[in-house]
Point group: C2
Amino acid sequence: MTVKAIVFDAYGTLFDIYSLAANAEALFPTYGKQLAEKWRDKQIDYTRLRTLSGHYKPFWDVTNDALVFVCKQLKLNLNDDDENTLMQAYLRLPGFSESSNVLQALNEKSIPLAILSNGNPTMLNAVVQAAGYEKHFQHLISVDSVQKFKTAPEAYQLVPDVLGLSPKEILFVSSNCWDACGASWFGFTTFWINRAHAPFEELGITPHYQGSSLRDVLALFQQS
Amino acid sequence: MTVKAIVFDAYGTLFDIYSLAANAEALFPTYGKQLAEKWRDKQIDYTRLRTLSGHYKPFWDVTNDALVFVCKQLKLNLNDDDENTLMQAYLRLPGFSESSNVLQALNEKSIPLAILSNGNPTMLNAVVQAAGYEKHFQHLISVDSVQKFKTAPEAYQLVPDVLGLSPKEILFVSSNCWDACGASWFGFTTFWINRAHAPFEELGITPHYQGSSLRDVLALFQQS
């Protein structure tokens, strides 16, 4: 295996964005799961539309816009306090149960680790620090510096540039299948964490590896 | 009003894509509406991902890929006959009830009409001819010639190039709010047909006009 570093996506891969369903449920009983799912979908829609049209806005603002839209769509009255509560929850997303142990074990194998995220630096740093993960990573890389969201090649290019490695030498890990596909198109060695046992996207490209949790990434390095 | 021509989006604006729910329901009872909606969402997702990543594929193929994915997601067994039935239905989508009369009335006012569609020429020509609409349009413009889907500016740029007008002189009509937003960003005069009474997208831009059917576009020209 020629991999010399691992780069992780953040939201959904290391941090559980669907935990927001509980935060939302507390404010809008019976709507929690639906709100969290639609919020995520709309957030990603907006990143794509803004990048396609060349109208970048930081992920924090895009996330807030998506929340406002989805509450209007669901006819939920989002007051300023509710909005603030849900947005602040984005800064303290819990890691998945295995995240911390896997990162620690990879550190012990002296494999350089980084994050590439759509999140702008302020929100990305906050969520990493809140989880106590900053010690695990050599680099927290945000697409904010190129003002294009994934899956734009310019966003992925940040990783080889920062790490000084070729894309093939970098294992790109994401639980978002579209992100794993975009990363595969870009040229990374890729690992799709299929937490939800979803079918594979019909995009004509396949990640090099698949698993159901971050433990499967660790297993790859224990075998080699 | 400085508008000198009108360009319409095709799918969802002139042609009823959600009519496919009935075709799907006949094959997969109780799943029709859900399949049609998810099919459309996935189709649009794939156009954006492919354009962002620079991996264009004609809309016909993207539409077929999206159908295959959504059937896997819904655990529906899509055999070749079913797949063919649903794909062929895309070539004979019905117009909305007002489409034909509005186009005819605009023709009588001698306003040049065109279509700008994500659809590749073969499928776009087929659906326009099946509905008998070809006589209404001076140009059927497909993004296929630039190999980028909307909302890429290169896709919208085809319209001023073909019509020889500035974007502001062209009224861009779409029932897809994201399309109306992308067109507004591009610089067209824009009209959002809000058929579903949906909230407006939180993208920081507003179309110039809104209405609930194509009749409201006609009304604009009857007032002026």
